[in-house]
C-alpha cells in the first residue's frame, strides 16, 4: 500500500526539527526546569514524585517552546515562496496542513520523550522506581498536549498573512491570555461578567461554572488530566500547588475542586476525563477552521 500523500511532507518537517538545535535545547531546558524534588510531593506521592516531574516539564516552558518552534511553519513559507513547492505537489492543501502538524509533532515528540526519560532515570536513581504505567500515561497525555499546541500554532500560521500577525496571535493571544494568565482571566473578568462578581482564589465558591471555565484551555485541561492520573486532586493547576492547597489550614491562591466543594459532590461536568475532550477539541477545531480558509484562499 502506498504511503499517504502527506507523508513525505511530514517526514521533511520532522527531519528539519530533529536536525536543528532548537528542539534539543528545549529538551535540555525542560529537564533542568522540571526536576524539583520537594518534601510535600515526596510525602504525598512517594516514588511517583518522579512522574510528577513530567507534568512540570509539560507546563509553561513546553508550550512556549512548542509554539515558538511551530508558529511560523506555514506563514514563513508563504512569505519566502517555498510554499510554492508544496502547493505544486500532487497533494491537497489539507494534506499540507496534516503533514505539517504530524511532522512537527513527531519532530518535537522525540526530544520531549528523551527529556521525560532522562527525568525518569534521574528520579529512579535518586528516589527509587516509580510506577512505569503512570509514567507512560503522563508522558502520553503530554504528547497529546504537544500535538494540540502544534495544531493550534499551525492553524494560526495557515490563516495569517504575516509573521508579525502570527506572532501576535500565538503569543499575545494564545500563550499569554489562554496559557499563562488564564486562571486570573477566567476567575476574574470572565467569571465576573457571567455572575456579577469575580471569584476569590483563596476562597473559591463551589460553583461548577467557575471550574468549567478554568479548564477550557489546553494548558489547564492538561493539568486536570495529569493531576487525575497522579491522584493529587481535581484541578488544572500544577501538582505542587494543588498538593499545597489541599493541606489543612493552607492559604494558597489556587482553584482546586476538592477544596472548594469540600464534602459535597462536585458536578459531573468537572470529571477529570473531560480534560481529554478539551485537549482533543483544541487539537481539531482550530485546525478545521483554518483548513476551511486555507483550502479556499489565495496563497501566492
Amino acid at each position: 500500500m502506498a504511503l499517504p500523500r502527506w507523508f513525505p511532507i511530514a517526514r521533511n518537517e520532522a527531519y528539519a526539527l530533529l536536525t536543528a538545535k532548537g528542539p534539543w535545547l528545549l529538551a535540555l531546558l525542560l529537564v533542568g526546569w522540571a526536576y524539583r524534588p520537594e518534601y510535600l510531593a515526596w510525602d504525598e506521592l512517594g516514588r511517583n514524585m518522579t512522574v510528577a516531574f513530567v507534568q512540570s516539564a509539560g507546563s509553561v516552558l513546553l508550550p512556549l517552546g512548542v509554539l515558538l518552534l511551530s508558529y511560523r511553519s506555514i506563514v514563513e513559507e508563504r512569505d519566502s515562496g517555498s510554499l510554492k513547492f508544496l502547493l505544486g505537489l500532487p497533494v491537497t492543501r489539507t494534506d499540507i496542513l496534516v503533514g505539517k502538524v504530524l511532522g512537527r509533532s513527531a519532530g518535537l515528540a522525540v526530544p520531549f520523550t528523551v527529556a521525560a526519560v532522562v527525568l525518569g532515570l534521574l528520579g529512579a536513581v535518586r528516589f527509587g522506581l516509580f510506577s512505569p504505567l503512570l509514567f507512560l500515561g503522563v508522558t502520553l497525555v503530554t504528547l497529546l498536549y504537544v500535538l494540540t499546541l502544534v495544531s493550534v500554532a499551525t492553524a494560526v500560521s495557515a490563516v495569517t498573512t504575516s509573521t508579525v500577525r502570527a506572532t501576535a496571535l500565538v503569543f499575545g493571544g494564545f500563550y499569554l491570555l489562554l496559557t499563562v494568565f488564564w486562571q486570573t482571566i477566567a476567575s476574574g473578568p470572565v467569571y465576573g461578567a457571567l455572575t456579577g462578581s469575580a471569584a476569590d482564589p483563596y476562597a473559591a465558591p463551589a460553583d461548577g461554572l467557575l471550574f468549567v471555565l478554568l479548564r477550557l484551555t489546553p494548558e489547564r485541561a492538561y493539568g486536570v488530566v495529569t493531576n487525575w492520573l497522579l491522584g493529587v486532586g481535581n484541578s488544572g493547576a500544577g501538582y505542587s500547588v494543588v498538593l499545597t492547597k489541599l493541606q489543612p489550614e493552607s492559604n494558597v491562591n489556587a482553584f482546586v475542586v476538592d477544596a472548594a466543594f469540600g464534602q459535597t459532590t462536585a458536578p459531573a461536568s468537572l470529571h477529570e476525563a473531560l480534560g481529554l475532550v478539551v485537549l482533543v477539541a483544541w487539537c481539531v477545531v482550530p485546525l478545521a477552521l483554518a483548513r476551511y480558509r486555507f483550502e479556499r484562499g489565495d496563497l501566492a
Binding site: 511532507i9 521533511n12 527531519y15 513559507e77 515562496g81 500532487p90 491537497t92 484562499g297 496563497l299
Partner: protein, 249 residues
C-alpha cells in the same frame, strides 16, 4: 480524444477593483512548446498561479490535462512538473532531500542523482540549499519539475538568474522534454531565449491576451519584416501603438 494540455475559458482574476487577468481564453495543445510573454504586471504570473492552484479564480473555468486545477489538484499535479517563480528553497535541506520530497509525493521512481545530472548540479547533491547561488537554486527547481516524466511542464520565468550556460541548459531540457512528448508552457520576459525554444507564443498585455501564434505569424500581423526580432514584435504589440486587443475594445 486527448484533451488539450491547458484550456481556459473566460479566466478572470480580480483583486478588489483591479483586474489582474481578464477573460483569458487560452488553449495549449499537447506537445507544444508555448511561450507566454508580456511585460511585468501583464498577468503572466496570475495565469500560472491560477493554473497551479496557488490562487483561485474570480470567474471562468480552466482545464489542465483535462482536470479541474482547483478541485482535482492531486490528479492534476501528478502529471504536471512545476518550476515556480519567486520561490525559495529550504535552507537546511540538501538538494537530495528536496528531490526526494517530490519523488515520494509523486510516487515516481526517479533518483535524485539522475535528475541532478540533467541540470548539472550533481556535485551539490548533499549540500544544503541554503548555500546555493540563485542559479543553483533555479537548477534545483528545474530538476524538481522533471520528476516523474510529467505530461506538462510549467516553467515560470525559468531563465531568471541564469548565466548563458544556465540558459542554454534550460533550453536543452525543454528540447529534451518536448522530444519525449511533454507539453511545455513557460512564461518569460527574456525574449531572446523564447525565440530559440518556442513553437508558439501568446502575448499578454494589461491582463488580456493581445496576440497569439508562431513568431512568423505575429511578424505578419504586425506588418514587420521576416527578420524582425521577437523583441520588435513584442514592442509593437505591447507598446503605446498597440494594434490588437485594446483597439478592438
Amino acid at each position: 480524444m486527448t484533451p488539450p494540455a491547458i484550456e481556459t475559458d473566460g479566466l478572470t482574476k480580480q483583486y478588489g477593483d483591479s483586474t489582474a487577468l481578464s477573460e483569458l481564453d487560452l488553449t495549449v495543445e499537447r506537445g507544444e512548446v508555448y511561450g507566454f510573454l508580456g511585460p511585468n504586471g501583464a498577468g503572466k504570473s496570475t495565469t500560472i498561479n491560477l493554473l497551479l492552484n496557488y490562487i483561485k479564480p474570480t470567474a471562468g473555468t480552466a482545464r489542465v490535462l483535462g482536470h479541474d486545477p482547483w478541485n482535482d489538484v492531486v490528479a492534476c499535479h501528478q502529471r504536471v512538473g512545476i518550476c515556480p517563480d519567486r520561490f525559495d528553497t529550504y535552507d537546511d535541506l540538501s538538494a537530495r532531500r528536496h528531490l526526494e520530497l517530490v519523488i515520494d509525493t509523486k510516487r515516481a521512481d526517479d533518483t535524485p542523482r539522475s535528475l541532478l545530472e540533467r541540470v548539472g548540479l550533481v556535485d551539490a547533491i548533499d549540500k544544503p540549499a541554503g548555500e546555493f547561488s540563485q542559479g543553483m537554486e533555479q537548477r534545483l527547481a528545474l530538476a524538481m519539475s522533471l520528476v516523474g516524466d510529467p505530461d506538462l511542464l510549467v516553467l515560470d520565468e525559468p531563465f531568471t538568474g541564469l548565466d548563458p550556460h544556465g540558459a542554454s541548459l534550460v533550453r536543452a531540457v525543454v528540447d529534451a522534454e518536448s522530444e519525449r512528448g511533454a507539453t511545455v508552457f513557460f512564461s518569460s520576459h527574456v525574449l531572446g531565449q523564447v525565440e530559440l525554444v518556442c513553437d508558439r507564443v501568446g502575448i499578454l498585455h494589461r491582463g488580456r491576451l493581445v496576440a497569439e501564434g508562431s513568431l512568423a505569424e505575429l511578424r505578419d500581423r504586425c506588418g514587420l519584416s521576416a527578420d524582425a526580432t521577437i523583441e520588435a514584435v513584442f514592442m509593437e504589440l505591447t507598446g503605446d501603438s498597440v494594434r490588437m486587443g485594446e483597439v478592438s475594445e
